[in-house]
Amino acid sequence: MKSRITLFVLFSLFINLYAQAESLVVYSGRKDKFIKPVVAEFTKETGIKVLLHSGSSTSLLNKLNLEGSNSTADLFISNDAGNLEKGKEMKLFLPVSDDLVKGIPQTLRASDNSWIGLSARARVLVKNTDDKSAEFVKSVFDLADPRLKGKLAITHSGNESYIAGVTVYMESAGKEKTREWLAGMKNNVNGKVFNKHSKIVSAVAKGKRSVGLVNHYYIYRHLQKYPDAPIKIELPDQGKNDIGVAWNVAGIAITKHTKNKKAAERFIGFLTSEKGQSLFAKVNREYPAREGVAAAAEVPKAGSYKVAPVAMPVLGQQRNATLDLIEAVGMP
């Protein structure tokens, strides 16, 4: 027993040493499957090793905040602009130069470049093509219509994308309208919400629900698996006076206490290059943030439809207000 314990202690010391070996450390809130191929390509091109530390964006941001100057992280990746802006507010990031990221539109990065959007996703409607009862839905605000009672699929209100979407609607249509909208949807779902976006798509495909509110790529992911599924994407709020589709971005930031600033900048340079952009966004059928880089062919072209004019940093600035609103309505 004793020798076994000694062995474990020695082994753990070894692990300690191993973990301290030098490399670029990325705190990644993005799905492993989507970030790994990009990282592999970067290492191949530059020879710089990257150690991925995956987790949820918010808990990694917490970690970064608490670790302060002891953090090993050089970069932080999040799937949600809200988190990135929050990190900026907490002064956790190191702004990068305009030159490095000039390919990325200004609305998709922080005002001081302390974080940079890499790929965007759209909040869209998924409809069952055999079911005509949701045909009238042209705007997300139609989802509050009592005709959809028992026919609407939404995620629970803890979902990052859901919260970000509500922020956009709140900013574009006002607090009161959004409050009424939430109350109407609450009535329509009657306590039954979904814990995953993919389940919304599959519920709509099976005809258990008529319409759902999801990120666009979930629809294509389902169609890839079940090409004959009776579902279609619909871009909401495209009328003349409508607010447009809500967008959110995944992005990256250099941490304030990095000791590898040069390498970290190279990583951002790679991710914002045409090649990096294409790699980063396409694996998940998202929109590359860089103008001129095409998204996956099946996705509605960026620029071909109206997007709600809400700058991404607002998603962080208004997050607590959004949570207050959601809680006040008592969304499940």
Binding site: I5, V9, A19, N62, L66, K86
Partner: protein, 538 residues
Amino acid sequence: MGNMTSSIHTSLISLETIKTRAPSLRGFLALLVVLIAAIPLLFVFFSSGQLSLQQWVGLWSNRLPELLWNTLSLSVLVAIGSMVLGVSAAWWITRRDFPGRRIAVWLMVLPLTIPTYVFAHIYTIMLDEDGWLGQLWLALFPATAIPEIFNIFGVTLILVLAGFSYVFLLVRDALSRSQQDIEEAARIHGATPWQVFWRVNLPMLRPAIAAGIALVVLHVLSDFGAVSMLRFQTFTLSIYLQMSSRFDYQAAAGLSLVLVLLSLTFMVLERFFRNRQRYYGSGQSKKITAQKATPLETVIIWFWLGLIATFAFLLPLAWMLSWSWQAWQQNLIDSEFWGYVGNSLTVSALAASLTVIAALPVALYHARERSKMSQGFLYLSSMGFVLPGPVIALGILSFVIATMPAIYGGMTVLALAMMVRFLPLSIQAQESVVQQLTPSIEQAARSLGANWYENLRRVIFPILKGGMATAWILVFIDTLKELPATLLLRPTGFDTLPVRIWIEASEEMLELAAPASLMLVVGTLPVLWFLMREKSDK
């Protein structure tokens, strides 16, 4: 660090004023352990102290009534469910000799290898319309709705299945040690077997049942996995959400403080009921032997145990196997995967050893002193259990960074957090054995001229060995399954199986979540085997 040493001094002074003799080594070590265990509590006090009165009022009126109700009713339901399953299974298995008895023991313990978040994840999928149970339900009761799992009963089901084994283990331990003469005396005086159970066995089992239920309820209070997957608003989930979606550490700490008070109340009550009676058997009375089961009894026993085993282990196992097979076929099980297995085993073994050693002085100190101070030590060392994992991790992280940043980022910090988290588990397990160490045994050794070291080595340790092994195993298993604190404190890039399961499950990669879950089960098997062998040796 200055604060820390000065508080050690203050505590030592108070220790000396209470006890007239100088503090024993045991007491000093116990104090040291307790101080480490109290770090997260200090963090909670410190952070919640920054809340304004207005913020407290806000918390009180908006959130607390619902959270209190949810958390309390969930605890009661899970306690009842675990007691029914745990005591019934332990009773049949120790008192009846039936075919497959050893397998039955295994089946009752194996659910411990499945974490609550895996249970929740698997049951959510199985209860889908195209899931195994969903389809079965629709075949049996067409035109009815499949029962919903996202409510208090769903969460209760998951937590009972994941936790009843603790009650089973402790009650079985007590039953197999219980002595026959009292039961025989009752029977001679004309009591029916049922009366013997209610009036002799049950009261004698009370400490074990209480310890088992305490374990289960403490798991409920601090559970993060099931409630977050099933989105049932308990204190733990609400605290986590305050931290993670609002970065509001102070509100999180405020809620944690209420949770601590709630748990303390519960522990005081539990101790109160447990301490009202203690039983010391005489050394010579004979141990109980199991009666041969009649064929009818065998059928009933196996029906009941089989039912429990199916839902608590076999069904989840079958699910894991079936998805792992898919992963295997897709060549998804690579060297990286085996790395996660190695990481998990390493950190669990390290944490279990550390925790068992740390728990010993506290358990011994309390067994000997039985003073207000030793009782206080016990409560303080239980903090790791009543505080939610994310809060413990936050507390340890803040403390280590403030006092000894050099060790931050390594395995040591992670193991330390696991120790703080699972210390009460280890103390509980060792204490129920320490209670067996009747004062007369040690006095006998002393009177025969054994010094303290000899006493420890030749008397105390052999008696405690079983309890220490049980404690080691319980901590090993819990660390193997631990998620929230590991997520925050693991060294950079150091992924364990739970971390992977959590990542893959949130990405809905069933093919990847399943083999990792399966590995948790497999990784625990040798340890369980050791535990079972220990028991049958006795």
